[in-house]
Symmetry: C2
Subunit: 357 residues, 2 copies
């Protein structure tokens, strides 16, 4: 539903407060039911108000991607942060991590001997936990499970406390690939955790999870889940079958600026929606209120939409667009317009927007 | 060349001042040599310091995509602005346009009778010029040349002053397509301009041009060019054959955070580089100092790069990445680190970042 109280200028990001709340509650219950810790990835929302709601729903802490994000959430009162990234700790970054560890329990990812050594050189001794990143099939960062002990031992030698292992099963972001990715995630983490234990190294945390795979693993496999997108969902999650339209909490409000036959052009382009488009996506986003419509092209300030013959909006109409990948969308905006029952009820700042380092 | 004076934390956007200056001078001379006005598109840089340099090089004014961008550059002293977009003027947007027209000569795009009527309703009478947008083959916004008179006449009736016609030949963004797109651009604008003149309507401005096509048209076809990307260039322009690596003024400085065989992972992902990737692109960006390397995947904070066997950087090294589409990259950053002779010499704010409306 298009909110009655519009800013009057589009595009802007509308968050349905009640849908958001249901998404938060559902994931919290799902993790609790399985006896798993939930450490949501805050890179999706970058927003203090949403982080506080996640913690109020029982999250054990937050996951972040960068030290800059960690600083924002520590300042907002979060006392347990995991930077799920193999940080290369230059001197300035090491100083920031040391300061951060005075405010919160801080863990960071490590996936090479060189990276562990560098952390040991620049971070105050005894301040940081590390989790060894495992490659469970996504083939981005992370070591093979058989190499986990080498990295963990290097981290211990460098004065870091090894807390466990983590992975990101990003190869589950394909139609039909979720179950296999979740199984690989569990197997790789189990192999790495067993190897660490056999070498006498501590394994308190076995951390995995993405929104597509988070429902497919159990406490026997993982101790902790790190989904991010579930707070808002997006066109990708719907097209993957992970969420329904009624579970999409964030949409970009856009105005029809042109119509030529069955082609409509909206004023929300890649600078509002983001340009992410997986090979299997139907287009550059979706219109939840026009499910047959296809976003056939995005440029910076234009979304070209093809509609079924004779249907759909006209010039001047405002429509909702679900972006493909909501993490990218939020990172383009300074604020979120919070809507309930069709009225604007609040504005939340995207406090960690753009903090890539 | 990697600057000697590094912020110490990556990713960040480095602008080579001397390359930028040469790019500005070359395009200014190219337009002047052909007797054409140059109205650079400021959406690429969103930066007051660069806009002032463009005007100092003789630009006749600036092009912008949104009213928000226009407000930034008007406040910085630019007195001639063209919003090259078919703005749907809600009441708040109409008020902003009226205020803007007190500071500068303002023209906006129009491409429908409804859009012209709406501008006439919400903008103070006699304050705005309009240019009719023509579709020259890109099939986004714009009317067929044969419909230009209908829109122009509606604009005149609505109390707007018709200044001419414009188009964006975006279909020139493909290998081998530039010449044909430039020819279509010229033909469509000529047909529309002739039709307006035949109907007794004024045509002072015939405006076209994108960076790929800007060198391929003459004063006989167009009175004005609106390229944007040329200030920085990017991997797309190099892969299209429009620019060379020595003409790329902006690169994203990134640190190698992982290396596994010939796969290297950098800390500049889609949240630093942008996710734009045309079907013909070699990957998610290019490494100018490693021309054989391919960016095979981008996630939010990771660029996965495959290098020729045995070569290339190791964990902790800092490398330069040329993004595919620099307009998207700049819109993700708060500032540009200005470099000359390998040293940081200035920091420029991306003043219009995120101003999508």
């Amino acid at each position: 539903v298009v909110p009655n109280t519009l800013p009057g200028e589009t595009p802007y990001l509308a968050v349905d407060r009640d849908v958001l709340e249901r998404n938060l509650a559902r994931m919290a219950a799902s993790a609790a039911d399985r006896g798993m810790a939930l450490r949501p990835h805050a890179k999706t929302h970058k927003c203090v108000e949403i982080a506080r709601r996640q913690l109020a729903h029982g999250a054990d802490g937050l996951t972040v991607a960068t030290v800059g994000e960690a600083e924002i959430f520590a300042a907002a009162g979060c006392t347990d942060l995991f930077v799920a990234y193999p940080v290369w700790a230059t001197e300035p970054l090491g100083r920031r991590l040391s300061r951060l560890a005075e405010q919160a329990r801080v863990a960071v990812g490590v996936e090479s001997v060189a990276g562990a050594d560098q952390l040991g050189r620049t971070v105050a001794p005894g301040t940081l936990d590390v989790l060894v990143e495992i490659d469970s099939g996504h083939h981005r960062t992370g070591v093979d499970p058989g190499d986990a002990v080498t990295v963990a031992a290097a981290a211990e030698r460098a004065g870091l406390r090894v807390a466990g292992v983590f992975t990101f099963p990003g190869h589950g972001y394909q139609a039909g690939a979720r179950s296999a990715a979740a199984a690989q995630e569990a197997a790789a983490l189990r192999e790495a955790a067993d190897a660490l234990r056999a070498a006498g190294l501590p394994v308190e945390v076995v951390s995995g999870g993405s929104t597509p795979t988070s429902g497919l693993t159990g406490a026997g496999d993982l101790t902790e889940l790190r989904p991010g997108v579930y707070v808002f969902n997006d066109a990708q999650q719907v097209e993957l079958g992970v969420a329904t339209w009624s579970e999409v909490a964030l949409t970009v409000m856009a105005t029809v600026v042109a119509r030529h036959g069955d082609r409509v052009v909206l004023d929300a382009g890649s600078k509002a929606l983001g340009a992410d488009q997986a090979a299997w996506a139907t287009g550059g986003g979706r219109l939840p209120d026009h499910p047959e419509a296809r976003v056939t092209a995005l440029s910076e300030h234009h979304a070209t939409v093809v509609l079924p013959a004779g249907s759909g909006p006209v010039v001047g109409d405002v429509v909702r667009v679900a972006p493909n990948h909501v993490c990218a969308t939020v990172n383009l905006a300074d604020e979120l317009t919070v809507v309930a029952d069709g009225e604007q009820v609040d504005t939340w700042r995207v406090a960690a927007r753009g903090l890539n380092r």
